[in-house]
Every structure is written in C-alpha cells, then in structure tokens.
Amino acid sequence: MTGFRKACTLAAAALLSLTLLAGTALAEKVNLTFYFPVSVGGPITKIVEGMTEQFMKEHPDIQVTPVYAGIYRETLTKALTALRGGEPPHVAVLLSTDMYTLIDEDAVVAYDDILKPEEMGFTKAYFPGFMRNSQTGGKTWGIPFQRSTIVMYWNKEAFKAAGLDPEKGPANWNELVEMGKKLTMRDASGKVTQWGVAIPTTGYAYWMFQALAIQNGVELMNAEGTRTYFDAPKAIEALQFLVDLAYRHEVSPKGTIDWATTPRDFFERKTAIMWTTTGNLTNVRTNAPFPFGVGMLPASARPGSPTGGGNFYIFKKATPAERKAAVTFVQWMTSAERAAQWGIDTGYVAVRPDAWETPAMKDYVAKFPVAAVARDQLAHAVPELSTHDNQRVTKALDDAIQAAVTGSKKPADALKDAQKEAERILRRYGK
C-alpha cells in the first residue's frame, strides 16, 4: 500500500513539473514542424538537420522539428493527410506545381497575408523564373528552395569513342538524333550495348515531355492553371519526336524508361546521354566512373526547359506567432549564403542571383563550371506544368506519354485522350 501511495505521489509530482516545464516552454518558444522531401541521396537528413540546428542557435526562441516524408508526391500526400487529421505541419517544402492544389484545399497562407506590404520586397531577391509558379492572383504562396531545371548529361568517353567532340553536346533535335545514332552501339548479333539517349518516362514523364513541348514552341497550360493544351499540334509533334527516338531512329530504348534507374543506366554506360534534373549533379559527380559533360537541353524552335523542384509553403492552421516564426525560418533557409551552400551540397540551382556572388559559390563554379548550366538555362525556362487538381491532370498526361512510348496509342490519340480527361477534371475550375 505504501509503495502504491509513493508511486502516486511521484507520478503526480512528475506530472506537475512536466506541466510547469511545458508551460514555460510555451511562453517562450515557438514550435514549428517542418516537412521536407528527400529528393537527393546521401545524408540529406543530416544536411537539413544541420541547417535547422544552426537556425535554432541563431534564433533561440524558435524550435524547428524537421520531418522527412519521402519523395515530393509522398510529402504532399503526408501534408494533406495530416491536414485532414487536423495537425498539418507549419511549414513544408512541396513542389511549386502543387500551389493550386494547396490553395484549393485551403491549406496554405500567402506570404502577403502574413507580412506587411513593405516587408514583401524580399521576394524580389529570387530568380524571376522561379517566382513565376510561386505567385498567382497577385499573391506570393511559395518561396523557392530546392529548385531545378532539366539538364543533359553526357559521357565524354562515349563521345570520343564515337568520334564526336566530347566537349559539345547536341545543340538541337537533329544533332540529338545524329549523335544518338553514332552513340548507339550494337554487338555482333545486333543487340544494343549502349543507347544514344535516355529520357525517362516514369516518375516525371510529364516534366520531360514538357521540355520537348517548350522546345517545340508550345506551352501546355494557361497561367491560371485552369486550361491545358495537351493536344496542340506542336505538342503532338513533340511527343511524336520522343516516340521516334525509340522506334524510328532507334537511339533510345523502347517502352518506358524508369526515372529511378536512369542515372544508374548512365553510370553503367548503357546510355551515353541522359536527361534528368540538375538536382542529380552531385550524384553524377560522385558516382560517374568517367568524365562527363553537362549542357542545356537541345533546341527545336527554341531552347528551353520547365523549372522544377520545391518551394517553402506556410500552412494556414499556424497561429500568427507561428506564421511569423515560419517566415523568419524560410527567409533564413533561403538567404544568399544558405542558398549557395544548399546548391553546392546537392546540385540544385541556388535560387537567387546574389547567392552566385558569394565567395563559396564563386569558388565552386570556378572549380566545377557545369554547375552554372542550370542557372544559365533559366533564361529560357518556363514554369512547370501546374494546374488545379494537379496530380490528377499530370497523371492523365503521364498515362498518355506512357501509352505513346509503349506503342499502344498513337501520340495524337494519346494526347487527345489526355486533353479530354484534363478538361473533365478542370471543368469545375475553368470559369
């Protein structure tokens, strides 16, 4: 009996001191939960945790708990699931293209609604190319963090072996096909041992296709995210070109090409050229067993690539104090020095011009000039495909692209079907 009573007293005391502790902590500290996607390999969590720790050291009144939640799409699912469950994160890095979805779900708050108009000047510090799908309806909803464009990587050894200039990648579609033909190697039995080019068609098929569409001179959606132009003749031509790479010119594998294994295909010398995110730069640099080149994507009517990657969003459920703290955190994470360091660590494009003027970045570019390719390509960049109900619309386009590259539908039919589906999905938004 005494034992029991003692235990009770102890428990009560512990409870009391806990409440007191919590009470004082609440009074002084703002707690922020921060969801971020694992978008690059290696010790990403360590880098992010290191950054948040540094932030907390400089801002002792703010406590940030970073939670890594999978790839972009999973992080969005997690954030929205948590929102429905009543406990969304305070701040999260999600795809810039999820902006309309997040607004429709009433999940996020615009930076303009947190800050005074005179405080909004900081948004001018970022590359305008990245801000284009961070703003809509005159408000800023996202702040660029780990942003990218698609770039082309090539194997210099393979270029040399094929009698090509290893310093120059294909500049336009014709060169891509011509060089691809020289780079495609077959053994005595006719089996391909090395493909010319690999453009992945799973995971981010719509993104890769959008690059081709842009180059062919067509945009796939309007600025309000309420209409798509998947079946525009120029878009159909672009998809036809992608299909032709495999079936007519035979410089690329038939069927879909897996996003996750494409970098590995490149390291294994199974493809001489690959298109993928600039976010892969550090990965390629570490793992490619041969010298490689990096260049802008080839042009058709014009050069170009969609932008990509993630923005910082602040969730509506946060209290005013939490929102303010979140803005402080976002501004700190995207400051010139941090943006430069993040770009160097991961290969993502440092999101603001002044980041490229920091000594660390200048030093890095001097040693590794290709790091600037993605930045320079920004001049030709177009916002990534983004509409209301974004995941569903991109899924329709992904399906169309896969149907075309697997040969089960003609590009024109596939894109017409996708357009019809997109119109059905968007009918409740397009007023």
């Binding site: 799409r73 006719g190 391909v192 995971g203 069927g255 879909t256 399906d399 149907a403």
Partner: protein, 297 residues
C-alpha cells in the same frame, strides 16, 4: 437482481456476451461501421478546402462505367488473381512435397522457401527492380549470356503485369507451403503402405490419396490467396506505380491514388464498394467451405 435474470440459461447468455463484447466492438468499429460508411460516402462529392460534401447520387457509379483507368485496374486485378492464386498454390504444394520427401538438406530448402515471408515486400521490391532492369538487370544479364535480345520488362505494357504477378507468387508460395507441410505430416504412413499393397503407382498415390486429403488445406490457402490477390499492392509502389499507362495498376492501388493523391474520397468509396463486392463473392464461396468443414468434423 430479479430472479428471472438468475436462471442459468440467462446467466450463460450474459457471460457469453461479456466475453464476446470486446472483440465484437473492435470488429464492428473497424469493419462493419466503416463498410457501411463507405457505402453511404460513395453517394457524395467531397467539398474542397473544408466545404461540406455534396450529395451526387449515383454519379460516381456512373463514372465507374466510363473510367478507363478503373476498367484497366479491374481487368488487371482479375488477371492478377487468376495468375497468382493457382501459381502460388501449385508451387506451395510442390514445395511441401519436395521438402517432405526427405531430400538432402531439407531444412535449408525450407528456409529458402520461407525467405519471402520474412522480407518486407516494400524492401524486396527494390531488389526485384534490379532483377527486371533492362540491359544490366539480373534477368537481362542471364538472358544476354544465353544470347537473347533485350526486353524492357517493367517498361512494356505486355510484360509489366506478369512481372508483378511473379513477385506476388514468389512472396506467397513459401508462406502457403508451411500450411501444406503441416498437413502432409499428419497423413499417417499406413495410408501409403495400404496404397502400396494395392499396387498403386506413385502418381496415383499422390493424385488420388494425398491431394484429396489436402483438400481442406487447399481451401484454406485458397481463401488466403484470394484475399492477398486483392490486397497486395505494396510492390507496385516501387516497381511500376501502376504503369506503364496503368498496365499494372490494381484496384486497391487505384483506390489509394484516388483517395490519398487526388483526395476524391467519394469516388474512392465507390471504388471500394466494387472491391468489397468481389470480396463478398469470394466469402460466399468461403462460407460454403466452412459449412462443409463443419459437416465432416
């Protein structure tokens, strides 16, 4: 307590209910109530951003009829079931025979067959991804050495589903083998002796004596295999994400996409009702089996 409640029969009924109550409460809360709610929910369209849901009657069910992705997922799921069920059961039975035949190293054999049950599907799917990778994946390395031309296993609409089926069979067969093995070891040796005296051949013995004796196990395994055929989607997350062009999408995976990626939970509910319909059909068969089992006990 009034005397009527003290009658032994009433007391026993109360006892029984008390014993059943916790389990029933859980099953009701997480099976029956959500099943009914799913049904009700399938007539509503979710409101975006916290707006109230809107009654749309049969609209979701009408859309089912024109939804091509749904039709594909449904056909795929039926193919998936008709592939995985017989293959995994047949292999499980074969494995059990082999492991029970006193071959050299049978405990190692048993361990090998059981490996898939222990490895989480989600992790092992990444390994299968390597096996199926074109050009340098394991399958292609082997085929290449034998002089075959390359196949893009997961990247072609015709091969993606069979690949996914193979992974599921691999996962299930070893697990089912354990049930067969247990049943086999209960068959008395005297039966074999009797059959031998009658001059029955080996094939005859297995076909006419052993396999019929295993029938109850087969039915039990069949039920589990059917459930798994509509439940197992873990590997899709890694291998194909339902692609290319939905060629390997399955019902539950599509339900996940619709409900947790597009947040169209009303339509997701309608899809779930279809899945429940299939499972109900299967369970009708199962009740028949349970009845029979009770009879010859």
């Amino acid at each position: 307590m009034p005397p009527a409640f003290r009658s032994p029969a009433t007391m026993r009924t109360i006892h029984a209910w008390l014993l059943l109550l916790p389990a029933l409460a859980f099953i009701a809360a997480f099976t029956h109530v959500p099943a009914v709610n799913t049904f009700l929910h399938s007539f509503f369209l979710d409101g975006r951003g916290g707006a109230p849901a809107q009654f749309v009657g049969l609209e979701h069910y009408q859309y089912l009829l024109e939804d091509e992705v749904f039709r594909k997922a449904l056909v795929n799921n039926l193919l998936f079931a008709s592939g995985t069920i017989p293959l995994s059961i047949g292999l499980a039975m074969t494995m059990a025979f082999l492991v029970n035949a006193g071959l050299a190293g049978q405990s190692v054999l048993r361990l090998c067959y059981f490996v898939p049950t222990v490895l989480p599907m989600i992790a092992v799917a990444n390994i299968w991804l390597f096996f199926y990778t074109p050009e340098y994946g394991l399958l292609e390395q082997i085929r290449g050495a034998l002089g075959f031309t390359g196949v893009n296993w997961l990247g072609s609409e015709s091969t993606a589903l069979p690949c996914v089926i193979a992974v599921a069979v691999w996962k299930d067969a070893g697990f089912f083998m354990i049930f067969y093995l247990a049943a086999l070891q209960q068959i008395p040796p005297s039966l074999a002796e009797a059959a031998m005296l009658e001059g029955a051949s080996r094939l005859y013995y297995y076909r006419r004596v052993v396999i019929p004796l295993l029938m109850p196990t087969t039915l039990f395994v069949l039920v589990n295999a059917t459930i798994n055929a509509f439940r197992m989607v873990d590997h899709l997350f890694v291998l194909t994400q339902g692609g290319p062009n939905n060629a390997s999408s399955l019902l539950l995976y599509y339900i996940y996409e619709v409900s947790f990626k597009y947040w169209d939970t009303g339509y997701g509910a309608a899809l779930t009702m279809v899945l429940l319909g299939f499972l109900a059909l299967a369970s009708i068969g199962q009740f028949g089996f349970l009845d029979r089992k009770v009879h010859y006990r």
